[in-house]
Symmetry: C2
Subunit: 362 residues, 2 copies
Amino acid sequence: MASVHIELPQNSYAIHIEAGLLGLAGERVRGGAPHARCALVSDQTVSALYAQPTTASLEQAGFQVSRVDLDSGESNKNAASIERLYRGFLEDRLERSSPVIALGGGVVGDMAGFAAATYRRGVPFVQCPTTLLAMVDSSVGGKTGFNVPEGKNLIGAFHQPALVLIDPTVLRTLPDRELLCGIAECVKHAVIREPELFEWMKKNAQSILELDDAVIVELIERNVSIKAQVVMEDEKEHGVRAHLNFGHTFAHAIEATAGYGKVLHGEAVALGMLAATRASVEAGLCDVALLDSLERLLDTFGFETACALPDDVILEKAMRHDKKVIDDRVRLILPEALGRITIRDDLSPSCIRAGWNHIRQG
Amino acid sequence: MASVHIELPQNSYAIHIEAGLLGLAGERVRGGAPHARCALVSDQTVSALYAQPTTASLEQAGFQVSRVDLDSGESNKNAASIERLYRGFLEDRLERSSPVIALGGGVVGDMAGFAAATYRRGVPFVQCPTTLLAMVDSSVGGKTGFNVPEGKNLIGAFHQPALVLIDPTVLRTLPDRELLCGIAECVKHAVIREPELFEWMKKNAQSILELDDAVIVELIERNVSIKAQVVMEDEKEHGVRAHLNFGHTFAHAIEATAGYGKVLHGEAVALGMLAATRASVEAGLCDVALLDSLERLLDTFGFETACALPDDVILEKAMRHDKKVIDDRVRLILPEALGRITIRDDLSPSCIRAGWNHIRQG
């Protein structure tokens, strides 16, 4: 079993990566946050596949399991779903020490995490991510929240999990498009922190896409380690954690203008990284060779590298609604080279437009 | 000016007490959490009295002030009001660093605090409490939240303020019944931590009720110091902070069964302290003399010491919905003597009933 540990001033927790781990969830959760009741939060899609064995394991460990299955998809990451979680917790009288366990992708994890952060002013939270994206990104670091019409994750809280259990075998039932979304975040980690990972992903692209057991565990472990390192350096995103938003200001604008759910988050991030890198090249901050090699790697994995976009005024407005706007200036996370990132709020509109035009279809 | 300082592992802040402080809010807030935009959250009642001078001070200090006035009263401490705050913040595009300033009593402070805790995963928060209850209790310590039909404050978060500004002159417009509510919490502080304060309040009861300037500032400062001390010892209520809930398990059941707003929180706390002390006497944990002197002090201030109550089964059920239920056992905070508290979850139903009967009218 591979494990990564996170040490924060007020929270320390382990991320375990092991085939078949969902079947052991009960004893692991009892060890991490022992209590007689727990809530298992999932969505309809994941629940049909994995709720039964997970519930069985929890019950075997002595838990009384309260189940809430949310509607699947980003479009349901809203206040109404949070309300359903609260209602479920209240009806089953979950107590202050009852853990909430998220079984699903990032949407389920973010919402279950927010409900756990705010139910009775915070209850223990366990992440069992079932998408590659959630495994390498959202399940680690404590960001929770939901979307409002004005933008993604505009309501949220920092609430670190007590434990993260990653069972890579569940990726076998993950749709290819969702797998790619996780790969996009891995590419992002490689660009911002680890040139060696960039090379390793290039070399192992085929094995990653075929879900080769050893390669997938290594991919998850390397990426979780990067994410954990960044979170330990900067838990609340006052500094270096912002680097994880490479590509995301563009991505959020793509998702917001396309309508949530049309473009998947990872697809938008892949496009956003290209736009940001192109803007960086235009501003004279990085060499065009980086843009080329990023484009080639994304292409190897089968990503779209262009999409239909609304006009610049609409995109600009969407960017301004991003959480990273400070004093009305759009703050961009830009690569200078593989493994070297800069944060800039002084890019000219023409550099940003060059980024958008680079990924604009047709 | 009197000041009390709170030092917590991740947050330190000052509580300033000074006549006329609202008129200086702008420079104080700018010093504590400088930014070009801020939100001033109040309710209709308080807003009519104090929003104008506070806004003027904030604008003079260079803030662009976004105003949200909520409907007054505990019955509006709900998800719909939180939603109104989010909408207001989003419309005026408050940023991650824009402070949210609560101008009002505990209801306004709890809701503005929760919105500040969860808007963009947390923005700076400033408390300007306008009731004695909020000054000596809810504005210090970081508890935020709102009510759901199942009970009070069942959804919430810990979010410490960046600054607390207490202007005691505003108490001159506070209704007598509300003033009493604050006095109930002061009596509670005295019982759980400071026999000298109990004696001082007995001696100065008349001056307190007449809002004598020096006496009121001393009352606020002494009580804020007690609250601050408890919060510093135990920020997240894993231990000694629970002592502050003396009387509250009974009080919450009174409020829940009476319907929110019928009985004021402080009135319920006064009754709850009597019920808890009577239960403690019945269980042989404290002397009846304590019950007598508590009853006399409350009577001196003009509190009701009995009220109409539903039958025991309904009260018992309401108590079980309290946040302090662990493993289905009702955990009670009970006095052993002035300044000495014990936490018990093994009181017999007959002791609890004796508590209820003590305050049951007729």
